[in-house]
């Protein structure tokens, strides 16, 4: 019930989109969303697209994950200096 799955929009016919979910094609209603285009990713929930996914924001989040890598490097360097394990 809380589950929603990212799906790619393949075709749009009025208020219905043909989307692909992990290889399976499915029809989803576009009644709840605006400005959806072919090639967009949308979250599908109980037969409705409920939100468009932003690739730009997804890339930003992935960049944030890289900051943890930087932090880990710093911790490693500090460990080398002090000889102590740093979490």
């Amino acid at each position: 019930m809380c589950l929603s799955i990212p799906a790619k929009v393949l075709e749009i016919n009025g208020e219905v989109a043909k989307v692909t979910l992990g290889g399976t094609e499915y029809n989803a209603s576009l009644q709840l969303v605006e400005d959806v285009k072919i090639g967009d990713y949308v979250l599908i929930h109980t037969g409705f697209a409920i939100q468009k996914l932003s690739e730009k924001e997804a890339q930003e989040t992935l960049k944030l994950f890289n900051e943890f890598e930087e932090l880990n490097k710093q911790l490693d360097e500090e460990e080398e200096k002090t000889g102590k394990r740093i979490a």
């Binding site: 019930m1 409920i50 939100q51």
Partner: protein, 360 residues
């Protein structure tokens, strides 16, 4: 970009875990209030990755689990009416009522059909003009706009044999009630898909009134770990606030079109939650404008007196006070093939998720 694989990298997960360990100094309890998060947390073994001072609690985030027995009993009473077809999401059908279940009623010959979407229920109504089709509408803000769209479509297309029996609920009153009741929560892993609709405004009271932060999280392991990092950071810095980790799907303002449709069809009412009892303005009933589609206004049925199962501690589990493993029925007389309570029925329920991924 497929929006899934990129958020499941093991090496990156290890690095976030180390960053969490690095900043976490105090005991902290974080609660998730979305069944999808409950599933992901157990599936990806998130608790086992975290340092021991960080405890994750499962809250009232599974719609099937919080739906009360009286609702099931009333749905069963509707199913027993002549010329009625009940349409329902699959996970509700096996939830025990006081003396029967929708599954039992189906076995006895009542017309109960599982649908994936309210639009499928509407199609059944159009194909069966001599029957009355009732859709059992459960779920939080993620699901409500879909129900609203179904009702608006029924009105536009003049489908006059279609009815909705609503048990739709909204999340914030339950999140506030838990803290009010004294459940110790230092931060909420905010419900990602609810928030795609609502936006962030509904959580502002948590930090202002209760000093509890909320990070709206995605569902992949890296999302959850990053959200936990953000909550621990807020807690350690004594700076509770609402933040969005799941920015690729959640906007501050939410989905305005979906919200407009939701408030066109529904209005707030008090509602009863398993474990939490009656909470003011926590449920949604059909508005006067769409009264002709409201099963409660249309059908007058006698509903049996609700009888709860005494051994089941689903209510305590939903409040984060107990773990499924504390229940004497868990994996003993209660399992997914023979569920005693709703938390074992739904695959988003804490008991079901623990049974599937964390039984040892």
């Amino acid at each position: 970009m497929k929006f899934i694989d990129e958020f499941r990298n093991k090496e990156k997960a290890k690095k976030i875990v180390r960053a969490i360990e690095n900043i976490s100094t105090k005991e902290i309890k974080l609660m998730e209030v979305c069944g999808g998060h409950t599933m992901s947390i157990q599936k990806f073994g998130i608790p086992s990755l975290l340092p021991p001072q960080i405890e994750l609690l499962s809250g009232p985030g599974c719609p099937v689990c919080v739906t009360d027995r009286k609702y099931i009993d009333q749905a069963i009473a509707y199913a027993r009416l002549d010329n009625v077809i009940i349409t329902t999401f699959g996970d509700l059908i096996r939830v025990p009522g006081s003396s029967s279940s929708l599954d039992n009623e189906k076995a006895k010959g009542r017309s109960i059909k599982i649908v994936y979407s309210i639009l499928d229920a509407l199609k059944i109504a159009k194909e069966n003009p001599t029957k009355k089709v009732i859709f059992l509408a459960i779920g939080f803000e993620t699901t409500v706009p879909g129900t609203a769209a179904g009702v608006i479509t029924a009105a536009k297309e003049n489908v006059d044999n279609f009815y909705v029996f609503s048990s739709h609920k909204v999340m914030p009153p339950a999140m506030n009630a838990l803290i009010d009741e004294g459940v110790k929560i230092n931060g909420y892993i905010g419900p990602g898909h609810v928030s795609t609709i609502t936006g962030t405004g509904i959580y502002s009271g948590l930090a202002e009134n209760f000093n509890v932060g909320c990070v709206i999280s995605g569902f992949e392991p890296l999302d959850l770990l990053q959200s936990i990092y953000m909550l621990v950071k807020q807690f350690e810095e004594k700076n509770p606030k609402v933040e969005i980790q799941y920015k690729r799907a959640v906007k501050v303002e939410g989905n305005i079109k979906a919200k407009e449709m939701m408030y066109d069809v529904f209005e707030y009412r008090d509602d009863w939650w398993r474990g939490l009892g009656t909470l003011a303005n926590s449920g949604l009933g059909i508005s006067k404008k769409y009264a002709k589609f409201d099963a409660e206004r249309k059908f007058d049925v006698e509903v049996e007196k609700t009888k709860e199962d005494k051994g089941c501690i689903c209510g305590e589990i939903l409040k984060g006070l107990k773990s499924p493993k504390d229940c004497s029925l868990f994996a003993n007389v209660c399992d997914p093939s023979n569920p005693v309570g709703a938390c074992m029925v739904s695959n988003e329920g804490a008991c079901h998720a623990f049974y599937k991924y964390n039984r040892e």
